[in-house]
Amino acid sequence: MGSKRSNGKLKSYDNMGYLFVLPFVVVFLIFSVYPVLRTLYFSFTDVKIAGLGNENWVWFAQYKRVITDKFFWRSLLNTVRIWGVNIVLQLGLAFLLTVIFSDIKYKIKGLAVFRIVYYLPNLIAATSIAFLFNTLLDWRFGTFNQIIASVYKLFGQTYNPVNWLGDSATAGNVIAIISAWMWFGNSFLMLMAGVQGISRDYFEAAAIDGAGRWTVFGKITLPLLKPILMYVAITSLIGGLQMFDLPYLMSAPTSSSYDSVYTSVMYLYKFGFTTGTTQTGYAAAIAYIIFIIILAVSLVQLKIFNRKED
């Protein structure tokens, strides 16, 4: 590193970097690194409730239990399914909007207003969104089914109300769509900030050279957008596999759709923090298995991004 900087004066500046990163490192060690290691320790013990009673070192027994727990795999399948539908909609829409708004020929106006409107759902807490849609989608009295029924009526048909959140055929997809509705504006904002970070000189130079719209997009916009795109993709994945708020608040353990929407983190929460079912050691092992899966998928994603570079 810094092979060109043999000059002693410059090197003394470089050591100033330690001061800049020091506060981060201290807080990071206490509130990020320690908890992760502490959880790792718990995952090798049979501790029921941390701090109460004694804990025995059980090696990989908790991990074996997770791997053979079909309810855990079910939760993972649910999470991946909801996330998959969500991410296709969310990133697809965000990317499409970025293409539309950065198009050099159409020169679409009103970005400032559209951006606020698209971003609006993302402002709202998932808890509020959950209760809003729980109520709107109520199958007997909800406004959503009333609207559909009146459209059916318009064509002389009778609408058989769908129990959107109570039916296991629809509940997962409904949660995925609401999640995409919440997040596409956020992704769009990130991508658009990236486009606007690109110097206008590039576009003007390309225009002078007579480059076509798609050439500009493929040769300038897309490559320069790549770091941001990578960031958005990775954070969406990590966020998606941690899905908790919406499915947790939009499903009831008593509902018949529960088996198809409970996510891995909901499963972790059950053993980590729910009174009566707390098994700290087991929850810690679940957390690590989820992590290993996310890590594997993230590494594949990084590989794919880096390969395209060559």
């Binding site: 590193m1 981060f24 502490r38 402002l123 904002l189 970070g197 608040l249």
Partner: protein
């Protein structure tokens, strides 16, 4: 060709506006339904407000004090955001501009921790809080903002793309100190990126549910989302949809007001160069 172009452009606008309506409609229905009685809501839908706001209001506030929840959320989200953007900018700048020993190791660690789901440390985090006796305080919700790995990563990429190292060299020639350069040159240049991350951070903190739910167990400490989630348990309110809509509406309004101010700032900073025409 020219007409085809115009039709295509018009269709694009129609698409964009439809998408906008989809984003707004649930909130519009929420506002309208908040003024209607439970029995009105279950019989039909409309976009015309009714006259039952007062009854719904009384029922909501008999159950919980949403304003208290809002104030608690302010006390968490504002300091958490300020700490997060300032220290993330500092860390990002340090990582991007100084080639100290261990720089690469730290950056790799940050990348690794970005891939670590927050839930991984959740159990250890709660255990740490109980041992430090900071459960039911806001410290565990505020202080970790200083170590926001995602924000640091984004700002490091950002500062590398917007800040030429020659600028720093020039400032050093003029005798400026390192922190002076950071505060007076780097922060202003980074401000569009800081605004974006600040907004994200604030909203993330304001809307957080899982972490506050775990750390806080006393009602009077509940942040807005945790308080909202207790709606689940209230059969009283659940029997009147109007009261639920009103609760949601009240919980939504403050952040809309905040955004009304912030969005102007965002528009003028992020898009200053790009949407002049």
């Amino acid at each position: 060709m020219n007409i085809g172009f115009k039709i295509k452009k018009a269709l694009l606008y129609v698409f964009l506006i439809l998408l906008g309506i989809i984003c707004m409609l649930p909130f519009l229905l929420m506002m309208v339904n908040a003024t209607r009685s439970g029995s009105e809501i279950v019989t039909s839908f409309t976009l015309i407000p009714s006259t039952h706001l007062k009854e719904n209001w009384d029922q909501v506030f008999k159950y919980f004090n949403l304003f208290k929840g809002m104030w608690n959320s302010v006390k968490v989200a504002v300091p958490a955001t300020l700490l997060s953007i300032y220290f993330s900018a500092m860390t990002a700048y340090g990582l991007a501009m100084y080639k100290f020993k261990g720089n690469k190791l730290l950056f790799t660690t940050i990348l690794v921790f970005m891939m670590i789901p927050g839930q991984l440390g959740l159990i250890g985090f709660y255990n740490l809080c109980t041992r430090l006796h900071i459960v039911n305080t806001y410290i565990p919700l505020i202080l970790p903002g200083i170590a926001a790995t995602g924000t640091v990563f984004f700002l490091r990429q950002y500062v590398l793309s917007v800040m030429p190292p020659s600028l720093i060299e020039a400032a050093r020639m003029d005798g400026a100190g390192e922190f002076y350069i950071f505060h007076r040159i780097a922060i202003p240049i980074m401000s569009p990126g800081l605004a974006t991350m600040g907004i994200m951070g604030f909203i993330g903190s304001w809307n957080a549910y899982l972490m506050p739910m775990i750390v806080l167990s006393k009602n009077e400490k509940f942040t807005l989302p945790v308080m909202m989630a207790t709606l689940r348990a209230s059969t009283d309110i659940n029997s009147n949809q109007g009261a639920i809509y009103l609760s949601v509406a009240i919980s939504v309004i403050p952040i809309l007001l905040v955004f009304a101010f912030f969005s102007k700032y965002i528009i003028s900073s992020i898009s200053a160069g790009a949407v002049k025409e």
